[in-house]
């Protein structure tokens, strides 16, 4: 299978420090690929190399069939970058900023203006064209930062923590925009510290730590690496003569049931992800005269998975 991006045995050193250590991964065309890792894991360095900002010591990177070392200019034309820092000019208004960066990719005249306006509209800033960044809110600046990176309609969009420090509304807008870009055919490489964002939008995720690949796959694949059990918490009102051991014995015969425990009025049931018998459980509770007051399901998330795989938390 040919991938849109293929990174093989990438090594990048800064003096003695090995920022990226023999990293390999592949990205399919038209997917949102997440890079997840704590500070200093090598995410930004990997993005720097991918976007031709930095050279690398060893390895091979093929992007759309082009070798990043031999076909640098062609590859540059395919890439749009949304950096972690807001990289815009304070003295140019929104439209001038987007036009300037798009002009670096060869857009001219009417096409340049239309593309710039389209990009601003895409990020929801079409009514803020003549406003300078210094008069914009943090969220608006972030969206402008994105518009500057996508106005030239790149095939590959590299986004380095594009939602840092933005309000919920802007974050939602940005995340939805990224999905739309993917649906339009762009390939997106996305890094974030926000685990829920990565879970929400990424088709596949690579976990990096200390410059090395820890795991790579879909969210379900990654979670299954560490556990296949989910926990169901059912809050009820226990009768005085309630016999938990008897109740447990009956429940344990259910397929996939691993464990049961009781804490006050809440019964916790650990059951494999593939065997979800929630409706059956509720039926049994009701048949035993136990009212169901509240139900919570705890599915292992990337946080748990990250902690298990790396031995430390993401932040």
């Amino acid at each position: 299978m040919s991938y849109y991006i293929s990174v093989q045995n990438l090594v990048k050193k800064y003096g003695e420090l090995c920022a990226v250590d023999n990293l390999s991964f592949s990205v399919n065309k038209g997917e949102i690929f997440g890079l997840l890792g704590p500070n200093g894991a090598g995410k930004s360095t990997t993005l720097s190399v991918l976007t031709t900002l930095s050279d690398f010591n060893k390895g091979e990177i093929i992007l759309n069939g082009l070798d990043i070392r031999k076909d640098k200019m062609e590859i540059k034309q395919l890439i749009g970058m949304v950096p972690q820092d807001i990289a815009v000019y304070d003295h140019l208004n929104a439209l001038e900023n987007v036009k300037f960066f798009a002009s670096l990719y060869g857009l001219k005249g009417r096409q340049l203006t239309e593309s710039a306006k389209e990009a601003l509209e895409f990020v929801g800033l079409s009514d803020k064209q003549s406003i300078k960044p210094k008069h914009m809110s943090g969220g608006m600046k972030r969206r402008l930062n994105i518009a500057c990176g996508i106005a030239h309609a790149p095939q590959l969009i590299v986004m380095d923590e594009p939602t840092v420090g933005v309000d919920t509304q802007s974050r939602e807008h940005i995340l939805n925009s990224i999905k739309v870009l993917r649906d339009r055919g762009a390939t997106v490489i996305y890094t974030s510290h926000y685990m829920n964002e990565v879970e929400e939008i990424c088709d596949r995720i690579a976990i990096i730590d200390k410059g090395q690949m820890v795991a790579c796959g879909t969210k379900a694949e990654l979670v299954s690496l560490v556990t296949d059990v989910q926990s169901v918490y059912i809050e009820t009102k226990l009768p005085i003569d309630f016999n938990f051991e008897e109740f447990k014995k009956k429940q344990m015969v259910m397929p996939g049931m691993r464990a049961l425990s009781l804490k006050e009025n809440i019964i916790r049931m650990d059951i494999t992800i593939n065997h979800n018998h929630l409706s059956k459980m509720i039926e049994q509770f009701l048949s035993l005269g136990l009212p169901v007051i509240n139900i919570n399901t705890e599915v292992p998330n990337l946080d748990t998975m990250f902690l298990t795989l790396t031995g430390h938390e993401l932040r």
């Binding site: 930004s44 807001i86 003295h91 140019l92 670096l104």
Partner: protein
Amino acid sequence: MFHIIMKETKEFLREKTNLFFFLMFPVVLVFLLGNLLGSMDNAEEAIGSIKVQYLIETENIYHAMAVEGFISSVEDDESIIFDKATDLDSAKNMAADEAIDAVVVFQGEPLKIQIYEGRNNIKNRTVSAIMNGFIQTNKSMSAIIKTVPDVLSSGITLQDDMIKQKDLGVNRSMLDYYAVTMMTMICSMSIILGSAAFKGERQNKTVNRLIIAPKNRVTLFLAKILGMVPQTILQIVLLMVVSVLFFNAHYAGNIIDNVYLFFMFFIITLCMISIGAVIGLLIKGSPVVILMPFIWIVMFFSGSYSKEVYIKGFSDAMPIYQIQEAAFDLAVFGRYGRANIVIITSIIVMFFMLTLGAVIFSRKEGER
């Protein structure tokens, strides 16, 4: 490249600090220094009468008549006395003994003027200026050859240049002095513009967007430098026009010399921008903090704020002093020699710095 030039120009014109420091500040300084310090820093000096002996050794009768006519017109002013010398050697001896101030010989075809200067530099300058005036009114003249006997030669200082030259048709004042020194100041300050250009891109992290664009790095670097050309022209023209129209300052006496003066300052500014660009690429800290005090100090010892500040052997070594000297030479006396040296030196330095900057920028990795 066009878009980069436009972007640079817009950024310059929309940055209030730039507008103040590079456009308004020099104009205000010319006015303030020229008017407030002018009385303390008086340019007029009583030099007394100037005694000159001359010899006409040309066989061309028309040239001889022109010389006689010119001398008689100059002698109308009692401060300059021309006498015919009996022979060259005795006249030179008189100059050496300070009995007279200079000897001028008109000779050859085409006519050449040879000046044997005396000890007094102020009077020497005046004689030179008068002979320049003769050249400009007599096109058959080709050159002035000056002979300065070693025993009589001495350093020329800024003070000498600022003598009022009413007889040359230009009423010079301290405003003129500061017009030139402030022009030199803004040209020198362009080093900060150059350094801020790349430093600003690094601080904004916009440099990363530039680097990943599918553009040759050398082209990007040169485009950034070229982007400063419009503002360079604007600041020089603005200072020249405002100080002439509003403050009645003078630069050179004629349009050609003024254009050449503008050209010299333009080249110096580009040179300074190139040096600044390299500094901006190399240093991590704020270039302004390092460069600003340095330039102020160099300007102080170059006599930019007061013509009285001159330390022989030290001030002469300052590039800003040399630039000012070249500008005065061109503006006051219409002499191109020093201006040419400044222009050629600036071009060489500029090309070296542009090459160095392009190499550094080409090898530069993105900001982390």
